[in-house]
């Protein structure tokens, strides 16, 4: 596998996102728009050390980053399969694993772009209060934390049609995002939801981001996400194998 081949694979997948109006709207414009709305309404000073908008960069930022990582590789695989492109690619010397890795890799800069756009919004509103190092560290943990979701997206992509995949992914993700505290602080959710939250990987991604922001321990969240990765990787592999039959 040469760097040139990987570059071509990633380039193709990036075009698949940025030239696809639906992908740009649902995985870029919409999350950033909602962030601007929420940060404008509730982003001011908080009881804690940083503004609410900065907290939202970790929590709603997790929503934006995971959306990209979950939707694009998943829908991409479902469509490639349906169109017959994946079958065409199977006679090329490039293994499927490279194509899948490229799909996930291509979603990373886009996801980072979403996080960066949200941050710029916060800066513009004067509610951005953390340092560059912490800001980058949050980006790092959100991107890493989105990987198990990318695998989940691939599992759906290998099982569902191109039309069904976005609906299925959103049906799984949206409830998990809200109950995991990505849309509003976990303390603001009903008691029962607060009890369920720690079972959700979305909760652990946003808590990881908040932990980095506030300097709190994050080991539990890392362990939970590693376990999630093992499960979604197995699901993706199983879905891939059954799609080839």
């Amino acid at each position: 596998m040469t760097p040139q081949i990987l570059a071509v694979e990633v380039r193709d997948e990036l075009y698949g996102i940025i030239r696809e109006p639906a992908a740009v709207f649902f995985s870029i414009a919409m999350p950033v728009g909602f962030f601007a709305l929420f940060a404008g309404l509730f982003g001011g000073p908080s009881d804690g050390p940083v503004s609410n908008a900065t907290m939202m960069l970790a929590s709603f930022g997790a929503f934006g980053v995971i959306s990209v990582a979950l939707l694009n590789p998943g829908i991409g695989v479902a469509e490639d399969r349906e169109r017959g492109w994946l079958r065409v690619k199977r006679v090329s010397p490039v293994p499927v694993s490279t194509t899948l890795a490229a799909k996930v890799a291509a979603s990373l800069p886009v996801a980072f772009g979403v996080y960066a756009a949200m941050s710029v919004t916060a800066v513009a509103m004067g509610t951005f209060d953390t340092d560059l190092g912490t800001w980058l560290a949050i980006a790092g943990v959100l991107l890493l934390g989105s990987l198990p979701f990318a695998l989940l997206g691939l599992a759906v992509g290998f099982s569902a049609s191109g039309r069904a995949a976005p609906a299925i992914i959103n049906a799984i993700f949206l409830p998990m995002a809200i109950a995991g505290g990505l849309w509003m602080p976990i303390e603001a959710l009903p008691q029962i939801v607060q009890q369920i939250a720690p079972a959700l990987p979305t909760y652990h991604v946003s808590q990881l981001g908040l932990g980095v922001l506030l300097g709190e321990p994050v080991l539990d969240h890392v362990v939970a996400l590693l376990a999630t990765t093992a499960v979604t990787a197995a699901a993706a592999a199983t879905a891939y194998r059954s799609s080839r039959r």
Partner: protein
């Protein structure tokens, strides 16, 4: 003897209870073009998939230049056109073809001359999903050629091409064959394939039922009708090589021959006054149809 590029022996494939291929043997040498003919469902695409590494056959041996097609390395210089293909709609023609070159270790710059060769230069900047069916076939041909192939495997490559485009297509295939590329193709354009193919292999119900040079196949397997005005009498005509039957139509000879070329040659030698000579008869297409029909009767019997 040219190098054997494709080597298939005892190839079997079963989909559940459907036996798609039964002990198929087939070789293709470099610089040789083999046309795989046969009715729908004969197993052509299954054979192509086994040869290109898409499918793991139930049994038998397949290699390309001695390598297992299931291994990526073996497919570096394999050019393929699929019966059914799809492309990502967000890529432009030139991006797709140059990317395909890079995946096979060729420079991205290899795309431009190949696009010119298949007549897609004007559409290089067009999105792949805006191409017509015939243009998509040409795109597939460009992808097959841009890997600098030693083997071209083409499954129904002329599907959706008009006559002009088909003519150009066959010319391109013949050129690459003449430069030493091994070609295995399936098609329903039997007569057009016969013009390019060095060998025709007829597949029916998963079995090879005939194989040979197109002319050999038609002459061996189908009688031809020779029409002529001649001074020779019945006995002299019956003594000509290949003659099966003679009749007269309005004073004109109508002879059925099993070896039309030999008959005509002998007829012209024996009677310099022959006029109004015409040879009609089974085309390769008719030969294939009659061959496969016989195969079905045998299976049914």
């Amino acid at each position: 003897m040219a190098d054997t590029v494709v080597n298939i022996a005892g190839l079997e494939h079963r989909y559940g209870t459907t036996q798609a291929l039964r002990s198929v043997d087939l070789t293709v040498a470099s610089g040789e073009c083999v046309a795989l003919l046969g009715p729908n469902g004969a197993g052509k695409t299954t054979l192509v998939n086994a040869l290109t590494g898409v499918l793991q056959p139930t049994a038998g041996h397949v290699d390309i230049d001695g390598g297992d097609p299931r291994r990526a390395q073996t497919r570096m210089r394999l050019g393929v056109m699929h019966q059914i293909a799809g492309f990502p709609r967000t890529l432009k023609v030139t991006e797709l073809v140059s990317g395909w070159a890079v995946r096979s270790g060729q420079p991205a710059s290899a795309a431009a001359p190949v696009l010119a060769e298949v007549g897609l230069s004007d559409l290089a900047a067009r999105r792949v999903d805006k191409l017509s069916g015939g243009q998509q076939q040409r795109l597939q041909l460009a992808m097959a050629l841009v890997v600098d192939p030693t083997l071209l495997v083409l499954d129904e490559p002329t599907l959706g091409l008009d006559i002009d485009a088909r003519r150009g297509f066959w010319r391109t295939i013949a050129e690459h064959r003449d430069r030493g590329v091994a070609v295995l193709l399936t098609t329903h354009q039997v007569e057009e394939a016969a013009a390019v193919a060095d060998r025709v292999v007829v597949l029916s119900d998963g079995q090879v039922i005939a194989s040979g040079h197109p002319a050999e196949l038609t002459s061996r397997l189908a009688d031809r009708t020779i029409l002529a005005r001649t001074a020779l009498d019945g006995d002299a005509l019956r003594a000509l090589p290949g003659i099966v039957d003679i009749t007269y139509e309005a004073g004109r000879l109508r002879a059925t021959s099993r070896q039309a070329e030999a008959t005509v040659r002998a007829l012209l030698d024996a009677d310099p006054t022959v006029s109004d000579l015409r040879v009609e008869g089974a085309s390769l297409e008719e030969a294939v149809v009659s061959l496969t029909a016989n195969a079905y009767e045998e299976v049914a019997a």
